[in-house]
Amino acid sequence: MDLHGLLTGFQVAFSLQGLLFVFIGVVVGTFIGMMPGLGPIAAISVMIPITYGMNPAIALLLMAGVYYGSAYGGASASILLNAPGTSEAVATTFDGYPMAQQGRAGKALAIAALSSFVGGTVGVILMTFFAPLLARVAVVFGPAEYFALMLLGLTAITSLTDGSTIKALISATLGFIFATVGIDGQTGTARFTFGDAHLLEGFQFLTIALGIFALAEVTSLIFKRKEKLRAGNIGSLRLTKKDFKEIWGTQGRQSILGFLIGVLPGAGGSISTLISYTMEKKMAKHPEKFGKGEPKGVAAPETSNNAANTGAFIPLLSLGIPGSGTTAVMLGALIVLGIQPGPTMVTDHPDVFWGVIASMYIGNIMLLIINLPFIPYVAKVLRIPRPMLISLIIVFCMTGVYATKFTSFALFALIGFGVFGYLMRRLHFPAGPFILAFVLGGMMEQDLRKALTISNGSLKIFLDSPIALVIIIAAFLAFLIPILQNVIGKKKQNQGISV
């Protein structure tokens, strides 16, 4: 580790100009991240033209601020409006939105900010020391290992439901089925498109997520539109010592886990948030509190998300391989600045490499300092009178979908998913497994078939890879154990009653 390089990086970062640009980045990033459909990718893309001609080190500070800011903005939308804008923000809705409904929005947002900070900082520390080593591990993961990892993520389904397991499984299967619509990645066959050109790309995550989460919630709000929100419904921002004690363990564990998952190209926040949430739920003394406004349920995915975003920089900087859409845009930004990430970056441009790392430290701190005071204002969104809030959320969602797809078809699909989402609620089919299976299912199918193509149809490829095998076994255990516990628990209950 090059201490001199790191210190030089910090020197630039702590200059007045540096701090100013990080500040701008965080504010703009948070604002853009709050709009559904716009996340880190849109925020960074918007910033690239602004950085033409800027000093690369300062430009990187701006980018780091935007990156973290937009991740946090997405969390705000999840907590306040149940409108996750990116797949990484979905897990935050599970406990974040209930907390807001219970008048604890301020606390939820504060926990999200703090957890993001911890996740990002731990991630940067790990990155500083382990970047070259982890880069070598990252390339060991092939389709078989990715399939196994996603299978593990999918087992979160059984943990995401308190009600009927069968209904959760049906939701998941339906989600997976929706993921099969579109042109098949392996063969180019158009599947289930009914000849409609609009469906060739398949359904978009945003359309489904906004439909089944936000619009379904809007429909419930319409029924409750005459209810007045209680005053003081934002709750105090202050996290008591008790709160800290509750969540610091979560934050510690999930930042490491999130980071490790983020290091793998292609695996990022969407998987890490779900695995982290599930893991915390299983480890908790009161798992039944999850999904009803448990602070750990917000801390886990938020920590994991930021740690994963940080981990994603390792393959980018060390190998020049962008692991996700967001890192691909960052790659573009670095190239525009005249920097070519890759194995030679540390030797040819050490000041840039350490500058990136230093800017990430600063970006994280700035995020916390700036966002905490703004939380009361952001949370004021909940005070908007219900009729107006309903109309605004609808417009918000439609604008978000239109801005990404530009077709009326997508808007009709959004409404369709809204209706579907509401039906699911009424019939007690959980929405979490649906969206989970949609996101992971599509990727899993492609990886499974890639793995089988490599092995010429033989399933032995999963047995040959120790990593894949271990993860698959863990996945099966994670899947079966809650079901068995459920069944045994019910049997004991029934026996208790009949005796």
Partner: protein, 148 residues
Amino acid sequence: MFNTAHKKVSLFLILISIFYVILAINLPTYPYIPVDSEVVPVGLGVVLFGLSAALYFIKDEEKENHKTAKKEWAVVLTVLIFVLLYIVFLDVLGFLLVTLLFLFFCTWFLGYKHFVANAIVSVVVSCGLYFLFTQFLKVTLPQGILPF
């Protein structure tokens, strides 16, 4: 009421799964790959069939105890019609006008009586969103009949 509701759902899902499997089996085949594009869909269809059948037989423990008044459904349906009109007229009248009209009328319809505040918010939000997306983010939104 509850038992028949979830039995109806399970029958519906069984039909969907059969339909899906039939569509999947009819997908064109591709000769050069060990696992073709219909394998996973057929598998999913079968799993869905099995789960839906299981759903039919399990005892429904959910308590469905809220009956919503017909009047409330009318409200939801009206909002839905407003939304569909929004989508239909979006390309015709342009984003700014359609959003403005929708925000104003939907808010007013749902019971917000403060005419002036409603108008101000509708104008500010629609103009704000329009200019944010078209000028700052360079995302094209339908211009419709307006000159800008």
